[in-house]
């Protein structure tokens, strides 16, 4: 995932259009046609997928067995061999996969349409949208935490590096509601609060697995004072601004439709006598 601010909009979009432009050039210039044939083939997609899998495996092994590589001074950390987020190494490999996937996908549209083709096209289109939004859209995502209480409205949130950010609205807690099991353990926790913007007050609420939505922000209940429960006066919210959310969701829906199609067996291997011959 590329989270560096340098790659935020419009750089990431320009970069993606550049990729498309390169593909267009390679596809349409006769001199480059042999290259197009290669990069749009299933074999190259196979290699790109294997490379991507190998890279993830290597990074996961580093994270599992070399805890020292988490230090920011470590060379593996710097070049992104021991992290997934903001890893230049993984971003390059993911871009290679994206490029090959786009080439393979473009080729599919020139082939004869069939049920299997529709499934493949949906699957690949979904994968392309997901890779674009999760890897290149991550630079546009903002995530903050804010402590809200019952006494005063808060409009200062903090980034994960503890930099304060002033929000275009303020939030004040109304109530925390905790549903409990007989044992006393929490079953569900709900926070009711109000948001004030331009002298207008919006009443809203969120609980675990059900964030509140306000304009471009999703508000998640992150934690609360478990000792005081409903009597507590504050809670911590996480604010997420993700402009690529709809793109990712669209990609996921495409892939899920393709997955459902995959589960319907097209051909049966049954012989006239039934079953696998000579098994």
């Amino acid at each position: 995932m590329v989270t560096s601010q340098f790659f935020a909009f419009p750089v990431n979009v320009i970069f993606l259009f550049s990729l498309l432009f390169i593909l267009f050039i390679v596809k349409n210039i006769p001199l480059l046609h042999p290259i197009w044939e290669k990069i749009s083939s299933s074999k190259w997609l196979f290699y790109a997928l294997s490379l991507f899998l190998g890279t993830i495996f290597m990074i996961q092994m580093m994270r599992t067995f070399c805890p020292d590589s988490f230090s920011s001074q470590n060379i593996f950390f710097k070049i992104g061999l021991s992290r997934f987020v903001s890893s230049p190494f993984l971003a390059v490999i993911a871009t290679c996969l994206l490029f090959t996937l786009m080439a393979h996908h473009a080729k599919q549209w020139t082939l004869k349409f069939s049920w299997k083709q529709l499934q493949l096209r949906l699957f690949e289109l979904g994968a392309i949208l997901i890779i674009i939004s999760l890897f290149w859209g991550a630079a546009d995502q903002h995530q903050y935490t804010i402590i809200i209480n019952k006494e005063t409205a808060s409009d200062i949130a903090y980034t994960d590096t503890q930099h304060p950010v002033r929000l275009p609205f303020s939030i004040q807690l109304n109530q925390i509601h905790v549903t409990k099991y007989e044992s006393g353990n929490a079953k569900q926790v709900e926070a009711k609060f109000h948001i004030t913007q331009n002298d207008k007050i919006y009443q809203t609420q969120c609980h675990v697995n059900a964030p509140a939505h306000f304009h471009d922000y999703d508000l998640y209940l992150q934690s609360y004072d478990t000792k005081n429960g409903e009597k507590n006066h504050y809670c911590v919210l996480m604010l997420v601004k993700d402009p690529w959310k709809k793109t990712t969701t669209t990609g996921i829906i495409f892939m899920m439709i393709a997955a459902l199609m995959m589960m319907i067996p097209v051909k049966s291997n049954v012989t006239k006598e039934g079953g696998v011959p000579h098994d």
Partner: protein
């Protein structure tokens, strides 16, 4: 009420039914209706336990490792009878019975089922479909693993096609499970993907099965290599399912609910 103490009785009855179905299907060259009926009887007995236990604990039994093994055995047996009914692979019931029995024995020896409560993070509409569809995929991919091992010793090319069918269904279900999890993660944690160890292993497993399907398309005659790929893919699946808990730093995982 059906509680965990009754599991051994229900599971032994199911295994006996599946065992009879396996023998009947293996010895008859035509599709055996009696074998199907016995297999379905075993599944019904097992399903009765799951439903009864669900009512007893007052939550879906999908939380602990032991509970997921319960579903895996159930779906594996169901996948076996479905494959037998659709394609009449004579030895599929024997394979699935064997693997289901193994996981039932593990559950008897190490139940890992203790809690009645469901924490707030698991109170979601995604909880049941996410876990159940994963268990269905594990069952089909488990069956494909058995076919792959059998294919290494049996050169019948039809077995590879059968394996492809199973992998296709299993990978489809795995894709659904993974992306349902992703949509749930967005609702619960604010991100579609968090590179949590469990998620990363799931991604690697999924990629491995996609690579297998691509490999079959590009090299349709490289059967042995394809089957070896499938066996390794199943090892990845096992690590994703429970092996990840035994690797260093599993406490960092957001998927530990025990």
């Amino acid at each position: 009420m059906i509680n965990w103490e009754n599991f051994i009785f229900f599971s032994v009855a199911s295994i006996i039914c599946w065992g009879i179905a396996s023998v009947l299907s293996a010895i008859t060259s035509k599709k055996s209706t009696i074998a199907i009926l016995f297999a379905l009887l075993g599944i019904s007995i097992y399903a009765t336990f799951i439903i009864g236990y669900w009512i007893f604990i007052d939550r879906p039994p999908l939380r602990t490792m032991g509970e997921t093994r319960l579903w895996f055995s159930f779906f594996l047996a169901a996948a076996g009878v479905l494959i037998y009914m659709l394609w009449h692979y004579r030895f599929i019931l024997s394979f699935t019975t064997l693997l289901s029995t193994l996981f039932i024995i593990i559950n008897i020896l190490k139940p890992e089922i203790h809690h009645k409560e469901l924490m707030p993070a698991l109170q979601s509409i995604w909880f049941i479909p996410h876990v159940v569809i994963y268990m269905i995929s594990y069952a089909f991919l488990g069956a494909s693993f058995l076919f792959a091992v059998y294919r290494l010793f049996n050169k019948n090319p039809y077995l590879s096609k059968a394996t492809d069918n199973l992998v296709s269904i299993g990978t489809g279900a795995f894709t659904l499970g993974m992306f349902m999890g992703s949509l749930w993660a967005k609702e619960a944690w604010g991100v579609f993907w968090d590179w949590d160890p469990k998620e990363t292993w799931a991604l690697m497993t999924w990629l491995f099965y996609l690579i297998y399907l691509l490999h079959r398309k590009i090299f349709p005659n490289a059967h042995t290599r394809a089957m070896v790929l499938l066996i390794v893919a199943f090892l990845f699946l096992l690590i994703c399912w429970f092996g990840v808990n035994y690797l260093p730093y599993p406490e960092k995982s957001l998927h530990l609910y025990n």
